[in-house]
Amino acid sequence: MKKVVDVSIPLGPVHPCWKEPARVKCETRGEKVLAAEVELGYMKKGIERIMKGRPWQEVLFLAERVCGICSVIHNMVFIEGMEAVSGIAVPDRAAYLRVIVNELDRIQSHLLANFSFCYTIEHETLAMYLLNTRERAMDCLERITGARVNKAFMIPGGVRFDLRDNDRAALLTDLDWIQNEVDRYTRMFDTGPLIATRTKGVGILTQEQARIARAVGPTARASGIAEDVRLAHPTYRKLNFAPLVRMEGDNHARIMLRFGEIFQSIGLIHRCLSDLPEGPIRGGGTCGAGETVSRGEAPRGELSYFILSDEYGRIVDIAIRTPSIMNIDACTHFMLPGVTSLADVTSVFVSADPCIACNER
């Protein structure tokens, strides 16, 4: 009988397929992965510790820099928390503009996630198409907020800039263009026979496992858990938002769900634009003392901030729970064991859309 040796194969920290450094050690027998272990610490900057004792004006900028891909939602959740503790009301128009920017951010983040997946399974054509489409979404964001990545668009009591008429027209054209393009790529992805062999039935996360690791966002929704924090958000409720769910729980389901959410976001932006109320975009108010837990749906799932502030609006204590923490856990401890080929390890890892910067803060 052939002797099979158990080997521990480390991947990373610098790996051609991964955007960020992490080290995954896979225990393998033959090609089959038996267990995986993650080694982190490459991105630990201690943001929560830096934030403590600083005024909200500084924490606003630090919060954005927890994650550069989904900076809008960090901004939004922190500001909504500060508004909740100090009782500041937001004008209607500003609330709608926040949703527009947040959904644009989701579009670009999902496009980037699907780009990395296609790049990882070496489908470079599709990957480049998706990356190019993302640039259009970035243009929209830049036109509205004035910056590409760290925007600091939302402030307590409103937003910084109004939507000008020519920006609105450009946004509508760009959204149509993105919708057309993504529609094409979705069909390419869904029907490609080679893609199917790399995605269908690979990296399965069952619903029960997803619950144990507390998976959130597209990773959980692709495993049949219909949870979305946007359901509890007042502005989204006005827009009749309902989450998309898929039952398969494999790579294919996760990527297709993200494509689906891109269309959903485009629909939400259209609805926002059509009922965008007139009025001011900035109210007034001072940030004060209080304690709250503020939640929001980041592109990757539920993001929550625990905020404790004093009467001058300084942050006394803060704790951030980012979606990647749960999703990477679900990915490495449930999806990776059982993967039948080492070549799939990278693609399974990327399919959960891991963001190490969020994960370690």
């Binding site: 920290p13 630990k44 144990i212 690791a213 507390r214 749960m326 401890h333 370690e360």
Partner: protein, 128 residues
């Protein structure tokens, strides 16, 4: 050059465990086990990898909400908590302790007393 990538991660793991949410979770788990906080931290650092530690608070909250809903004794001992949510002991060892506790309840010892004893056993098993 040597194996320069294998590094002592204990300090980094400790940094993860002392952030506010994780600290609460660790304190609660220590309460369940009747263990000191610092020995429990050491145990967690030795047995779990960094991603488990990052998600410690998430998994613990999930257990509080959904885990061990059926049996009060399971709940008191955290059967699923220590075997599935935070895999520190294997399920056979856990079942052994639980079976003992059940037997002593049947023998007439009050449930709370039995649970306390079983916890002490569990803490014993966990201690390195």
């Amino acid at each position: 050059m040597g194996i320069y990538q294998e590094k002592d991660l204990r300090m980094l793991k400790y940094h993860i465990l002392v952030s506010p949410r994780h600290d609460h979770a660790v304190r609660d788990v220590a309460g369940i086990l009747g263990m000191g906080v610092q020995p429990l931290r050491r145990l967690l650092i030795e047995r779990l990898d960094m991603q488990y530690l990052e998600n410690l608070a998430g998994r613990y909250d999930q257990w509080v909400e959904h885990g061990d809903r059926k049996d009060p004794l399971d709940r008191a001992l955290g059967r699923e908590l220590f075997t599935r949510y935070l895999p520190l002991v294997d399920s056979s060892g856990m079942d052994l302790i639980l079976a003992e506790a059940r037997a002593s309840v049947e023998a007439g010892i009050p449930a709370s007393e039995a649970a306390t004893r079983a916890r002490a056993r569990l803490a014993e098993v966990l201690r390195p």
